[in-house]
Symmetry: C2
Subunit: 210 residues, 2 copies
Amino acid sequence: MEDTPAQRPRRKPRSDGERSRRTILDAAAKLATVDGLEGLSIGRLADHIGMSKSGLYAHFGSKEELQLATIETAGEIFAAEVIAPARDATTPLMKIEVLCEQFLSHIERRVFPGGCFFASAAAEFDTHPGLVRERIAGFQRDWTDQLTQLVSEAQAAGQLRAEDPNQLAFELNGYLLMANTAFLLYDTPEAIQMARTATAARLALSRASS
Amino acid sequence: MEDTPAQRPRRKPRSDGERSRRTILDAAAKLATVDGLEGLSIGRLADHIGMSKSGLYAHFGSKEELQLATIETAGEIFAAEVIAPARDATTPLMKIEVLCEQFLSHIERRVFPGGCFFASAAAEFDTHPGLVRERIAGFQRDWTDQLTQLVSEAQAAGQLRAEDPNQLAFELNGYLLMANTAFLLYDTPEAIQMARTATAARLALSRASS
């Protein structure tokens, strides 16, 4: 059957409501790395994206609802920027290398203006029990589990020597987190480069004796 | 000359003003790791320590003044808890080991309820240029410089192999920072132990080939 103009669009486009929800949440995820998730007031966000407060209230009933939706969106951005590129890597070790590099690259490219969303959110909410903290911890745990799982697979495949996979994942994560902190604080790419050196050396060490 | 009760106190005690200033700033430094330096309002702080708002205003003219004074006090607490114990260590390498251990121990003992004051403050202010951010970055830089300087001294003394001292300091700092983040987020001592393992292994690696 021919695809005539009259039949277009064949895919239902996202509704205005869905589109503006995503626009709001993209802005919120970025803003939260500068002003904090607590700093995300519906009023400030409305000003920032040039939308009415009542329009925003229609999307999010409460501040916590807005914060939780912002975390989900930040997770989707992180997945697209950092996780997705590792899918094409053909071995577990290569996947680890791509994940670390993509993490550093998303900091360097300032995907979020305040660096890693989850590092920023964790620092803000680590002492505030509740749903928001649980969700942030959940994302951090998923990331660490993914790294640890890949280390185990690389060990099983003989690419890395046998050692506690949690320990190796912890050390790699430490380099990434330190790069994020120092890059934001001193505003130089030096820290990103040191994390690249550290990651490569640590993996080489584990490879060399495998 | 006998020390009669009439002569006491022989040392001039700190004035009430000095004592209450320190009491306020101790509380402020701890509270800031939970609520943030921006969350330090004179009103909330007055409630927290049971003092009148006007009494607090007499000490600090502005919020920024309170924030800067809080950072100085946090620096003094950090110096007493983490830096001072390293003075007794007899070699540069031992000083590095003591500094790393004392850092981890001050997290584990919850000297500040929200973990490392400067990690918390950096995450909050890294995207907010100004005096507060400069002072936080200054403290972080002093800490890193101190570690780097000790690495250089340990290398000169033949305790550690020749390598970029900034790189080794970066990696050690990464383990400490990761321990802080994970300890606060997951509330288990596991991360502290992983940082101890990582630090010991990294120093052993540098020692082994020296």
